[in-house]
């Protein structure tokens, strides 16, 4: 009997989507002042001049420029689920032009800091964060476009 494929599930609900093909982060936009939040604000706009409590979900841009980057050479502590043996991975801060904000994310598996430079164009992907008995837990990541 063939081994069933592991179940793929988001590591967190409602922060990103792959519906309709290309992966997108899901933010929220205030219907009154237009400012944008990631992760979503659900109950009130945080612009102190605004005070609205009506926010719409919006997908964020899939592309941005690399604001800065670093990596983890040592396994972070729990609740991070570190691979064993630990494989260092890069982390990116990516500036989204339309949203005028910077969003963090891990960098795609196998891409090291030597391959990154501030100002590069980056794109969003969905990749495994970790795997356990309940399946593969997926997360958004950035990779050079």
């Amino acid at each position: 009997m063939p081994t069933p494929l592991p179940v793929r599930q988001p590591a967190i609900e409602g922060w990103f989507t792959q519906d309709g093909g290309a992966p997108r982060l899901l933010g929220s936009r205030c219907t009154a002042c237009g400012t944008i939040f990631f992760p979503k604000e659900t109950f009130a706009c945080r612009n102190p001049e605004c005070g609205s409590d009506t926010l719409d979900e919006i997908p964020l841009s899939r592309h941005g420029t690399l604001w800065s980057f670093t990596d983890n050479r040592y396994p972070p502590p729990p609740p991070f689920v570190a691979s064993d043996p630990f494989e260092p991975y890069a982390i990116a801060a990516v500036e989204l032009a339309a949203e005028k904000m910077v969003v963090l994310g891990q960098v795609a598996k196998g891409v090291t800091t030597e391959q990154l430079a501030v100002g590069m164009e980056m794109e969003l992907i969905i990749e495994a964060l970790f795997e356990d008995e309940s399946g593969i837990h997926e997360i958004w990541k950035w990779r050079p476009a």
Partner: protein
Amino acid sequence: MSHEVAVLGAGMHPWGKWGRNFVEYGVHAARAALAEAGLAWTDVQFLAGGDTMRNGYPGYVAGASIAQALGWSGAQVASTYGACATGAQAIDVARARILAGLCDVALVVGADTTPKGFFAPTGGVRQQDPDWLRFRLLGATNPVYFGLYARRRMALYGATPADFAKVKVKNARHGLGNPNARYRKAVREDDVAASPVVSDPLRLLDICATSDGGAAVVLTSLAFARRHTTQPVRLAGVSAVTPRYPNTVIEMPNFATDSAVGVSLPDVPFRDSIARGAYEQAGLGPEDLDLAEVYDLSTALELDWYENIGLCKPGGAEQMLRDGATTLGGRIPVNASGGLASFGEAVPAQAIAQVCELTWQLRGRAEARQVEGARVGLAVNQGLFGHGSSLLLRT
């Protein structure tokens, strides 16, 4: 100035990895501060404790835990928490009570016992807590954020890992003669370069350790101080400020910055606003400083602070460092105490420890690390979740 109070005494428990109860460090520091002030614990009318998140319930009620250990005296108490800015908040509360005329003598104490390794969030599964989520979803440790800032400095201003190493060499040298420092060992640039990378471009010796330690100050009204000393050190500014929306720099423990869509940027970015609050209260500016204690969580971050507190224009910090302007004997020594590079971080004690150092410097009692003729000193610090911390002291 009507908003000033006096720092009548300062005391510390040496930083280290002692593994004992944080209350013990707090009591040790409190007794040292009281002795320096020439006061007894029973003279204290108000105790402000800086909370620690890593020592269970006694840590959340640090004021009472320390008051009980000193012996219940009926003093009024408050316990505050603002991450690394905890001490500034506690000092601010004590200052406000004195200025309101509610008391003459206040004691402020912060102490911590830290676990080994990376700071981690508290346990359980908490999907609403950004501090838990940043570890869970990104593995974004504190050094990850420090690494992002360091790399950004390199890209914007041409900073190099050698510049970062120079900060460590300087602060290690300053800390050599500080009896309260945890690390009292000279470091060479080669040592930094030979230490392992933790979060590129930062190496182990670029990043501050986590330490045990305790610090305390006795604050009094100026009138009370004048009856006890001829030369009180004055606390002339306390800034425990929050950001203005939108804060467009990525901050711990966030996943993203605020968005600048639909809103205008504040006149002063958050990190520049921290010291500005203290300067404005004191009626002084960066040109008046004789020394500064800045929060060198990483070597690279110390360079950011030079600019944030107005010592130089953005991009000028590396030149200041290379010129020796921020070394003891230079124009404006930074982290004469040895900084976090020599101490490691004992969160609720750290802002108070900065005030201890400035107090001793302004009294001319800093021995081998004395800044000659020091009359005005600034401390600056920042706690995660949007806590600014800056204190300005003058003779």
